[in-house]
Symmetry: C2
Subunit: 457 residues, 2 copies
């Protein structure tokens, strides 16, 4: 009889693991069953704002692989609309509810992967269950918001929260020619950036016609006939036809916790570098699993598809009997709001302080191409480096077309624990259509190193 | 009396060094004289094809800093149209010819920087001095070619040599609506790429209407009334109104050699990591100076502005009494021909073999953005990794908009001697407008690592 792997959650982490395990072991050797509460597998949650905004029209293309294809091509028994209600770690079985047929059953496992993802934070506010208030998490959310826009042609939207989802949704509504207000508790949107960089994002958003209310907290919603009609903050009431909540996400770790699996300080499931939980034969990967931050050396919870894919692959290799480790993350992220590109990696100033670092910073304005080349776009790069050692701790980029992806070369340098002094000599590519002769990354490293030296003097 | 630094050559390396030394030491402490044979200082030679093609119209913007500005802002005594004819290393003086006033004189130095650059290779062929045959090296060349195009409206151009300058000039002539033929001795253009990648460049160039003659050698030129009328190869005669030679460049090391300064196997001036030549007090930087290739561990001569700037800065710091080392190069380069972007870093297959490596390769087709996102452009990435260790040795990228600059993240990994196994877990940025969830760099590293494992098995 083949060994049986049960996967809880059919999105990026779960299905990456299942696919990887299948590649290494055939169906006669390893049976794989994946339970997914929703109706879709392996979809691009990050693509939802672009579907809502109309940049992407083909809904099916957001789905990397359907349950049918998993079943036919990879002999992975994916069961959508099946919710795992509990895990019995001693008896090695899960208790499952078939949502469509309202029946419950047990399924035994030899190995179990918990890939339950994360869920949007929804504070308990008055009327928060009114019609027209949405989270942006599942493909179903995306379908519902787009359907509402196309059916009711709402004129006004309020976005609560200025993180990645918040600013991407603000862009989506701008593209739909709606009046958009964004409410952010912090002094500036994009609190994953330092305030000086976040303020530039704020200015650019205002330039796109988005009304920003920062330093402002949502207290509740007004509804008419069960449908949202206004957002109430601590400073004002904003009438609206539609509300999107972008208040961040929380790891879906309750199922594991109730089963006695250890949860970390970040509220995500504790895993070792092979993605093993504290219980033999039980693994976790993706948004529900805790990540090691290589710069702060702290456990963190970050919900991001790219980590979920890598962790899933790592778990899959190990589950199949191979050996792979997940080396951790450094907090790299990128987004855009209208034509403004925004990226970051490593620690922002506050995170560096909290991790015990003393540091210097430098910010440099440059261009994405040689200054004289058509299409040269502005790029502002900020780096944070440890005092004395000059070790890079983090960086942030704001700019126009061609700016943000440069964060990857900084991420590669940070991954390798380079100093900004070493970075400035790196052999990066140069030609006028692609960069100034000193790439913005190199100029910023050079200036940051000057700050390190001045601080030493 | 202040110490005196004499700089031979007023372009990227020379003037970077002069500027850096000036930043560290005032004019009362260090006198700086720079002799430049031509009429311009610190210009973008890499910008010349774009000026000729009309992409860049403002000639003055190709000049980063004029002699007047060096004199006024930095107290650097730049003397253009002054050619240094010889160096007397024992007497510590240079013999100089003032080209406009036809007078010669000696100038003493305490320290000397040789930054004489490189010059295009011009084989001794029949009629190679005919009017209408150009190299592309100095701003003067760029002015002359553009003036000829605007005056005579030539219909046909032949480019000899399919390297960076060659394909950039072919693009320039396409933009001028001219019929362009390109002659290349090798089986494909871009011999800095592997043949399999070079052939794709060839196909793209042909798609732009450029007539390619590969595996073909130029034997001479035909001229009428002293003006070029045809290019004669070993296979045919091609009538033309204009010829551009892009046959590579050779270090201008004769001046140093005649002075008894050691020259390396690459024909460039031997320097240590502080840019010192074998003679006390004499330094070299830029295209005339030999570089250490960090992957092959061989001395190489590469003419590239980005190295010239870094080496100049390094020399300047050391000349001024500071301490800085130049860590070498890894052969990173980027260019484009019409809408095709091309980049490389590290060793190509042949170079890897010559350096004694055994290796595996993998090539991956992907997209620059999520596949479903508008503007997702094709990107083909090839990586070469050492057998067994999986250490990255080199990479090549061919693609459309947004493809080529990704070479920098690979360059940063190569700089840090990463294995492709380590690379595939790197925390690179992801959002649908910027990358697939597995960035092309990561997918290619993953596939290359599979090849390493298969080879081990």
């Amino acid at each position: 009889m083949p060994e049986r792997l049960v996967v809880v959650g059919g999105d990026a982490a779960g299905m990456s693991a299942a696919s990887q395990a299948r590649r290494m072991r055939g169906p006669d050797d390893l049976e794989i069953i994946a339970f997914e509460r929703g109706s879709y597998t392996s979809y691009s949650a990050c693509g939802i704002p672009y579907y809502i905004g109309g940049t992407v029209d083909d809904f099916d293309r957001l789905i990397a692989r359907s349950p049918e294809r998993f079943r036919e091509k990879q002999h992975i028994d994916v069961r959508i609309r099946h919710e795992v209600l509990s895990i019995d770690v001693d008896a090695c079985k899960v208790h499952v509810r078939d949502l469509d047929n309202e029946r419950e059953f047990d399924e035994g496992f030899d190995q179990l992967l918990v890939a339950t993802g994360a869920r949007p934070i929804r504070p308990p506010l008055e009327n928060s269950d009114a019609e027209g208030i949405f989270g942006v998490q599942t493909l179903g959310d995306g379908e519902a918001i787009r359907a509402l826009i196309e059916r009711d042609r709402p004129r006004r939207a309020v976005v609560v929260g200025g993180g990645y989802i918040g600013i991407e949704m603000a862009e989506a509504f701008v593209l739909r020619n709606m009046s958009v207000s964004l409410i952010e508790k912090a002094p500036a949107p994009m609190s994953t950036l330092d305030p000086d960089m976040g303020e530039l994002v704020a200015a650019a958003m205002q330039g796109e016609g988005i009304v920003l209310h920062c330093d402002e907290a949502v207290e509740g919603f007004e509804a008419k006939d069960g449908r949202v009609s206004a957002v109430v903050t601590d400073k004002r009431t904003i009438e609206t036809d539609l509300v999107v909540l972008g208040l961040g996400a929380r790891p879906n770790s309750e199922l594991a916790k109730e089963a006695g699996i250890a949860i970390g300080t970040s509220n995500a499931i504790t895993v070792d570098r092979r993605m093993r939980t504290g219980v033999e034969g039980i693994w976790a990967a993706g948004d529900c699993a805790e990540k090691f931050h290589r710069v702060s050396r702290k456990p963190v919870a970050i919900a991001l598809g790219t980590h979920a894919n890598k962790e899933g692959r790592t778990a899959g290799i190990n589950i199949a009997g191979g050996y792979e480790t997940f080396p951790g993350v450094i907090g790299t992220a990128v987004t855009k709001v209208c034509s403004l590109e925004v990226a970051r990696t490593g620690l922002k100033e506050q995170e560096a302080r909290e991790a015990g670092f003393e540091y210097v910073t430098a910010t440099v304005d440059s261009t994405t191409r040689a200054g004289y080349f058509p299409g040269a776009a502005p790029i502002k790069t900020k780096m944070i480096a440890e005092k004395r050692s000059g070790k890079l701790l983090g960086a942030q980029i704001i700019g126009r077309e061609g700016a943000a992806k440069r964060v990857d070369v900084i991420a590669a340098a940070l991954w390798n624990e380079m100093t900004v002094d070493d970075m400035l000599q790196m052999d990066l590519s140069y030609a006028p259509p692609f960069a100034p002769v000193w790439d913005p990354v190199l100029i910023t490293a050079r200036k940051t190193w000057q700050k390190v030296e001045e601080d030493l003097a």
